[in-house]
Subunit: 243 residues, 2 copies
């Protein structure tokens, strides 16, 4: 039994950030623009999940929160670790070294990434015309292009986990504005689960949850019957299970 000290390993955290615009489930992706390197191809553009190498004194959770904050200035966002990706060649096999360095990746090292998924109310973050080298964009989940490294695998797994979690935990609300209608909520569920739901049965189920609270307010500016607005109260005692 020989045990290498694996000083060649770096840890990164990648975040699969979900948003919802009322119609489509979206991912927040980063345009990574390579600086022109003279004799190489004029400009290489690579798209990736937001992520970063972990800092020295930082926990994984803190690193994920930092990545999200540096990108969007948002704090207190729903953020959950879901898997660690550690194939030895997930980074360095694939691409030439210049390209890797643009991600601050040292091609001599292995990178293990711990992946988080995050649920963001899309209104809370509108990407700016970027002054940086890299800029973020919301992208339809349908239209996710080929991503850097194994980021497509990571995103796929995140979607599977999200789908799973949506049916067991009440996390859908994290993707909607503070005030929302039941139709919006239903559309969200239908989009993520990729199937039609029955309106009446859906509403029956939702109204069983004590956490969904009707407001004294209606939707405005729509050209049809305005809908009741609701809010979600994370702290309401759901179905009071004691013992």
């Amino acid at each position: 039994m020989t045990h290498l000290t694996n000083s060649q390993v770096d840890i990164s955290v990648d975040c699969v950030v979900f948003g919802f615009d009322g119609e489509q489930l979206k991912l927040l992706l980063i345009d990574q623009k390579l600086p022109e390197t003279g004799n190489l191809s004029p400009e290489v553009l690579q798209i990736a999940l937001p992520g970063d190498l972990m800092n020295a004194g930082e926990s994984l959770d803190a690193c994920a929160a930092r990545v999200l904050k540096e990108l969007t200035s948002l704090e207190g966002i729903y953020l959950k670790q879901f898997y660690a990706f550690g194939d030895p060649n997930r980074v360095s096999d694939l691409k030439d070294q210049e390209w890797l360095r643009s991600f601050r990746v040292n091609p001599e090292r292995r990178v293990i990434t711990v992946a988080y998924y995050s649920l963001v109310k899309m209104d809370d973050y509108v990407p700016q015309a970027s002054s940086f080298a890299s800029s973020a964009k919301w992208t339809d989940i349908q239209d996710v292009p080929e991503l850097a490294f194994d980021h497509n695998d990571i995103a796929d797994k995140a979607i599977a986990v999200l789908r799973q979690e949506l049916t067991t935990k009440h996390i859908g609300f994290e993707l909607l504005p503070e005030k929302f209608t039941l139709s919006q909520l239903q559309t969200l569920y239908e989009t993520i689960l990729d199937k039609k739901l029955d309106k009446r049965n859906f509403r029956k189920n939702i109204k069983k949850m004590d956490q969904v609270i009707p407001l004294d307010e209606k939707q405005q500016g729509v050209l049809h019957k305005p809908a009741q607005l609701f809010r979600f109260d994370r702290d309401a005692n759901e179905n009071v299970k004691e013992e």
Copy 2:
């Protein structure tokens, strides 16, 4: 934004190995005996989850399989990644350096661990009177002592995950011998879920699964009516969901 290259990080894999003896859920734990270090306490004994630092060219999954194999000689065992633990002080804060070195941990480095849980048919591995410095023992889940590092947290999370998975996937069989009775299976479920189940309803549910196949064989050597034996076929098409 400063980005440290975190060359101080090591990756380890820890395995929470579950077994079942017909009565109790068990964990496979390692006795880590410290060599006597002269003027320090005569012998320090520390108990831990089996685990190891990841080797250079190794994937996380491969590392977990290797840990399990080096310990038990078993291969092809049910093994599943469930969480990565990365608090900056999960290792080095706690103990003195001699102690750490006995785990091959360099106290100057951080260790991120990726945790797997594993389901083993207990008969397949009977711990040997150990010739090594460390030896493995099956321990009742009730009686798990204080473990090294944050291994109690890891074990607790593994149990929670196991409980969860048991209700959604058919993994209980991994803990039983090839041939088992329905009573054994029920006891297993009752032990893990920590609640009584109704015999008739339980059997109805099990018999819905096409994967549970009755054998032409009965339990032997019991002083009462012998039970029908069954085996579990991972590959039987369960409930034939097409479309």
